[in-house]
Amino acid sequence: MTHDDAYQLLESYVLGALTPEEHRDVEVHLATNCPECAQRLKELDEVCANLAQGVPKHDPPAHMKSNVMSSIQARSKSGTTARPATRINLSWLVTGAAVAAAVIMFFQYQNVAREADDLRSELIETQDVTNLLSMPGMSFADLEGVGPNEQAFGKVVVDPMRGEAVVFMYALPENPEGMEYQLWVMRNGQPTSVGTFTVNEDGSAMLMLDELDEEDEMPEFLVTIEPEGGQPTPTGMMYLTTPGVDAP
C-alpha cells in the first residue's frame, strides 16, 4: 500500500471501520515509520478521545473501583518481587525557560501533586527509574551528587521528539527555610533556569519539563540551592549535575 492509499484510510483506521485486509495493509505502512501518517494518526487519536468526552456522563457504581483494584491485585500476585517502597513527590513543574511561567504552571498542577503524594511508588533503584519511562525513542542520563552532597543522585529521561523531559532526584537534603532548589539546563556552558522546586520528606523530587529546544536531545542539567523564587543565574551550592558539567 502506498503512502497516499494509507493516508486516505487513516480516519477509518482509527475508527476501526476498515476490512481486516485494509487494516493490516495500513499497519504495514505505519510500520515504516512514515512521519506524515504518524502525525495524522496522533491528531485522529485525539479526535477519538474527544468524541468520548462528548458522551453523557454517568458516575460508575461506587463498588467498581474496588472491584477493579481486586482484579488487578489478583493478577499481580503471580511472581512480582517486592521492592522498597518510597514516596516520590510528583511536583508537576511544567515550564519553558521562564521561571514565572513555571511557577504559575506549578500551582496549576498542585492538585496532581497532592494526589500523587499518596502514590506509593516502587522506584528508588536507578534501574527502576530507567524502566519507568523506557519507551521508544527515550534517552537517559544520570545526575550525580556533587561534593558534600554526593549521596544525592537522579535520573533524567528525555523524549526528544516531544521536547519533554522527566527529572527524578533522590536523597537531596531538605531545603532550608527560605531556600529552594533550582534546576538549570546547560547550553554551551550557559545555564538557563527551568524552575525551582522543594523536595519531599525523603529527599526526592520529580519534575516534568516540556518545551525543551530541539537541540536538547540530552541537555546537561545542574541543580543548585537558591533563595526562594530562584535566581537568574546560579549563585548557590551545586547539588546535582549530569557528569561532565563544570561549575558555571
Binding site: G16, L44, E46, A52, V68, V94, Y109
Partner: protein
C-alpha cells in the same frame, strides 16, 4: 485535556507497567468515569457496562507496556481499548441482530429500522440525542450518522453503507470529511482557549 494531563497519564501508565497498583487507582480516579460513560453509551446496559469497564482496566494493566507515546496520548489509547471491548461486547450479545438503531434522523425511514424498540433502547436514544448535542454538533446529519455508526456501533464501511443505504464511496468520503472537520473544530477550540 492539556499536554500536562497527557504527560501525567503517560507517567501513570509507565508506573503501571512497573506494576504499581496505586498508579492504576489514580488512573481510575482520573478517567474511570469517562471510560465507564463511553462504555455504557456503547453497550447500553448498566450491568454490561460495569463488567466491560472492569475488563478495560484489567486490559490497561496487562498491556501498559504496549502503550507507545509516539503514536498518541494515553487517554486516546485507553479510549480505544474501552471502545474495542464495548463493541466486542455488543457483538457477542448479538446486539446488531436486535436492530439497535442509533439516533439517526433519517434512520426512522430506513428499511431495516425496527420501530418496536425496547424500553432500554428508548433510553439509549435519549442519551444519544444528548451526545449529538456535544462533540458531534459540529457535523451535519449525514456526517454525524457515519461517525455515530463507526464510533459507537463499530460498523465497517460496508456495514455503514448497508445501514444508511448509501454507496460505499460516499461512506468513505463522509468519514474522512467528518473526522477532518472534528479535528479542525478541536484545534480551533484550543486556539481560542489560549
Amino acid at each position: 485535556m492539556t499536554d500536562s494531563d497527557a504527560a501525567a497519564d503517560a507517567v501513570l501508565l509507565a508506573l503501571i507497567r512497573d506494576r504499581d497498583e496505586a498508579a492504576l487507582g489514580m488512573l481510575y480516579d482520573r478517567h474511570g468515569r469517562l471510560l465507564y460513560s463511553l462504555i455504557r453509551r456503547i453497550v447500553g446496559d448498566v450491568t454490561d457496562a460495569e463488567e466491560v469497564t472492569q475488563d478495560a482496566f484489567v486490559r490497561i494493566w496487562d498491556q501498559a507496556a504496549t502503550f507507545d507515546r509516539s503514536r498518541g496520548t494515553a487517554l486516546g489509547w485507553m479510549v480505544a481499548i474501552a471502545r474495542r471491548l464495548a463493541i466486542d461486547k455488543t457483538r457477542s450479545r448479538g446486539y446488531s441482530a436486535r436492530s439497535k438503531e442509533v439516533e439517526l434522523k433519517n434512520g426512522h425511514d430506513n428499511p431495516g429500522h425496527n420501530p418496536s424498540a425496547h424500553q432500554e433502547d428508548a433510553l439509549i436514544d435519549k442519551e444519544q440525542r444528548q451526545t449529538v448535542g456535544h462533540a458531534l454538533s459540529v457535523l451535519d446529519q449525514p456526517h454525524r450518522d457515519v461517525i455515530d455508526l463507526a464510533y459507537f456501533e463499530g460498523l465497517s464501511h460496508s456495514g455503514i453503507a448497508e445501514r444508511l443505504q448509501i454507496p460505499l464511496g460516499t461512506v468513505k468520503t463522509r468519514i474522512r470529511n467528518a473526522m477532518s472537520a472534528l479535528r479542525d473544530h478541536m484545534t480551533g477550540h484550543r486556539e481560542s482557549d489560549s
